[in-house]
Symmetry: C2
DNA sequence: CCTCTCGTCAACCAACCGGTTGAAAAAGAG
DNA sequence: CTCTTTTTCAACCGGTTGGTTGACGAGAGG
C-alpha cells in the first residue's frame, strides 16, 4: 500500500459502510464490536474496514482491557477539503474569465488567432 | 455498476492520475489525446479513466468531429463538500460537548456510574 | 487452572481495477 | 474509395478489495 495520503483518504471514504462508520464515530467513540453490530457482515470484515480507515489517518485506536476503542481523527478531512476547494475555486475562476472573454468579444474575431498587429509592412 | 453517487465520486478521485486530470480541466477543456499526453500510459487507459470520471458526474463530453472534448462539471464537488462538512461539523460539535462535560465535572465522580442515590439503606 | 469475550491474523475466493495490446468505429482529407 | 486521425471496444493479465471461515492471542473472571 504505497498510495499518497490524499488517495488513501478518498479511497477509504469511497465505501458506504466505512462512510457510515465515520458518521457514527462523529457521535461517540466505539469498540469494534459496537461498530460491527448494525451491519450484517462478520466482525473480521469490520476490523479490516477499520484498518483502512486507520491507514488513511481517519481513525485511531487505543486500548481498554481486551477492547480497542476507535476514535475519529477529524483533521484529515482538511486534506480533502483543501484539495476540493482549491480546484472548485479554480474552476469557478475559469468560468468567470470565460464570461469576460465572451463579453469582450461581441464581434466575430477568431479565437486564438494572431492579434491585430501589422506584420512586416510591404 | 450500482454504487451510490457519493461512492462513485470518492472512488473517482482516489486515483492520482484522475485527480490530476480534474486539476488540468479546471484550466481548460481538453480532448482525450491532449489529456493523455503528459502521462506515459496508453490513450486507452486515459479513455478508461475518463469513463470513471464521467460515471461519477465529474466530467461531460461533447463532440467535435472525431474529437470528444472533455468538460469539467464542478457541481458534483458540492456532494462531497456537503458530506464532509456535515460530519466535520458534527465531530467538532461533539468535542465541544465533551469539553463541557469535562468542565462540569471537576470532582472525581466516576463516568457512566450510577448517580449518587442511596441504595436500600440497611 | 479453565473459560469466556474481544479482536486480529491467515488463508482463501470472487469481483474489480488499472494497465496492456489489437481491432474497429467515426469522421475529416486525399 | 482510400487513408489518417481520434477515440472506443474487447480480451486479457497481475494486483487489490471486500467478503468469508477457522485459528489464535490477550485479558477478565469464574
Amino acid at each position: 500500500m504505497a498510495a499518497d495520503p490524499l488517495s488513501r483518504v478518498f479511497a477509504a471514504l469511497a465505501d458506504p459502510t466505512r462512510r457510515d462508520m465515520v458518521a457514527r464515530l462523529t457521535v461517540a467513540d466505539a469498540t469494534v464490536g459496537e461498530l460491527a453490530e448494525p451491519y450484517d457482515v462478520s466482525v473480521q470484515a469490520v476490523s479490516k474496514h477499520l484498518r483502512v480507515l486507520e491507514d488513511a489517518g481517519l481513525v485511531s485506536r487505543s486500548r481498554d482491557a481486551q477492547r480497542r476503542p476507535v476514535h475519529l481523527e477529524a483533521e484529515v478531512f482538511d486534506l480533502m477539503t483543501k484539495w476540493i476547494e482549491r480546484y472548485r475555486r479554480q474552476a469557478e475562476e475559469r468560468y468567470r474569465r470565460l464570461d469576460d472573454v465572451l463579453r469582450s468579444m461581441p464581434d466575430d474575431s477568431p479565437p486564438t488567432a494572431a492579434p491585430p498587429e501589422g506584420g512586416t509592412p510591404s
